[in-house]
Subunit: 323 residues, 2 copies
């Protein structure tokens, strides 16, 4: 069993590096921090690395403050684990360290994982990599303390959309239940993760929602955000995260769109669908991509032109699907 | 064991009435519908009753269309169960039927339950009455089919705030996991329950958030909604549900408030706190009430006067707490 091989490897390793993927999310950070805390309790020297900065929204996670970018001397670390990284590109600037390591481990749940390490602990039925880290920690026999449980729960609850996505299984719930028994304060943690909004972000939401329009007989809803709007409320690009969902969530809409002016004047388009429309196909027409239900692209045009171009493609695809 | 007594009673009953509480929510409706579906499968004649109309947002629940107000002839039903009702007042106009029944059952999880029936199956450690109904159904040996699982999951996910409130236990998660195995489409169901917003409601959200203000050094945030705003976007009172949370969720805020003009000109105030402030004490000053962290009151004054009155009380209590 690959998990016991990884446990054996970790037992004999003294200096260990854990790598989170570029543009880190709750699962890669929570998983890495949970494993780091556990290994440090066992006397291991562990560094948590990430090519990109940690989003402010995850700064509260125990240990998040010591996650750092790789430095030259990290190349001496012999045991290196990539956490929640589907391929080598996701390691970003940590690739060099991964290449030089004697033992490499790849712990992940993405279906696109390329099995790029010596030890590949990949389980695509897991809703989050945090599920695999949970199993690994249980296998070491270590106690799961409150801080570790908080990190693991974060990975699970963010990657499952609060237990709502199709990837959520009875195993996911079983682990979440055990983590509550280990002391997770779910009320506080869910507030930190989902119910926290700065005044600027709230004001941006007001301005953005005021632009909402529907077309295609209500089946398409879209929101516009320009730079002037961001400046007026003192918000930044990160405050636009999740805005597209307010378009998608319109009860009559099958597709929701966000058109966001970037500081270079181009228009970033976020596309979300509920059921049958493949928004990836639309994004691909504009050299973008993603998934069937969540996709994005960037268009070098004015706001109004970009809206016209995307709506035209979208309406023709949606009309064709009806036939 | 009370649960097996209830199962025995149901076995020998042929005509059964299930009563949901006034101002019905996801738990009272989901629990009642799940039990009704199960009992009907066993050949029982079951009616689901509720004194108040079913909110549009729960109309999608299997069987919701046949929940009805009590009628004269219901008084002949000998076995009557009150579902998720903490006291007799919560039965509303169904009280008469309850009084006349030969066998009455009270299935609930509220700490304030007054044990008002012949059989009182009350468990305050359950996060939702749906947990108790789940156990009851399992005890009957009945299969939990997709529709039943959907109703039970609805009760659990709404009463736990998507598994976030303190009442969520490992048992809650264990049951949720089993319900997924029974076929719940969590993606669809969470969309129905939490991610659906009419265009009118979305436009009201934009207007309401545009009024947001903070005071008390950021520790208090409040939102104003007047009748003109509702009319302008074609929204109604129900569209104001949840608005107060946008004030509460401001990152610096300990207390969030919504001031809502009613059609009689009075101001309805909703109060929410995050941690230490007892907003029930504030509401009580204006003859309102509720819980420590969620409370409400109605003030006969103009919008500006009401805001001034509530903020004055709130700031003095919050200042006193700091000393």
């Amino acid at each position: 069993m690959i998990a016991s091989d990884v446990v054996r490897l970790l037992k004999t390793s003294h200096k260990i590096a854990l790598i989170s993927h570029i543009m880190p999310d709750g699962d890669t950070l929570g998983s890495s921090l949970a494993l780091a805390l556990t290994l440090r309790q066992k006397g291991k020297e562990v560094v948590c690395l990430c090519s990109d900065p940690i989003p402010k929204s995850y700064a509260f996670l125990p240990g998040a403050d010591v996650i750092r970018r790789p430095i030259h001397s990290d190349a001496d670390i012999t045991t290196v684990l990539a956490i929640d990284c589907s391929d080598r590109e996701r390691l970003g600037d940590c690739n060099n360290i991964f290449s030089k390591a004697t033992y490499t481990v790849n712990i992940d749940h993405h279906i696109s994982n390329t099995s790029y390490a010596h030890y590949n602990m990949v389980d695509t039925t897991a809703a989050a990599t945090a599920e695999l880290i949970y199993q690994l920690i249980r296998l070491t026999g270590a106690n799961i303390e409150k801080q570790v449980a908080t990190c693991l729960y974060t990975g699970i609850v963010t990657d499952t959309g609060r237990f709502s996505y199709d990837n959520t299984t009875s195993v996911t719930h079983e682990i979440a239940g055990d983590l509550i028994n280990c002391g997770v304060d779910t009320n506080w943690l869910n507030d930190e993760l989902f119910n926290k909004r700065s005044l600027q972000r709230t004001r941006l939401l007001a301005k953005a929602l005021d632009t909402i329009q529907v077309c295609g007989g209500g089946s398409i809803a879209f929101i516009k955000v320009d730079m002037a709007m961001l400046r007026a409320v003192g918000a930044d690009d990160a405050d636009c995260d999740g805005l597209v969902n307010y378009a998608r969530d319109i009860d009559t809409a099958e597709v929701g769109l966000l058109f966001k002016e970037m500081d270079n004047g181009r228009i970033k388009v976020s596309l979300r669908s509920k059921n049958h429309v493949d928004v990836n196909a639309i994004a691909a027409k504009f050299n973008g991509g993603g998934h069937k239900k969540a996709s994005g692209c960037t268009i070098a045009a004015s706001m109004d032109e970009a809206i016209e171009m995307v709506l035209k493609e979208l309406e023709s695809i949606m009309k064709a699907a009806e036939v």
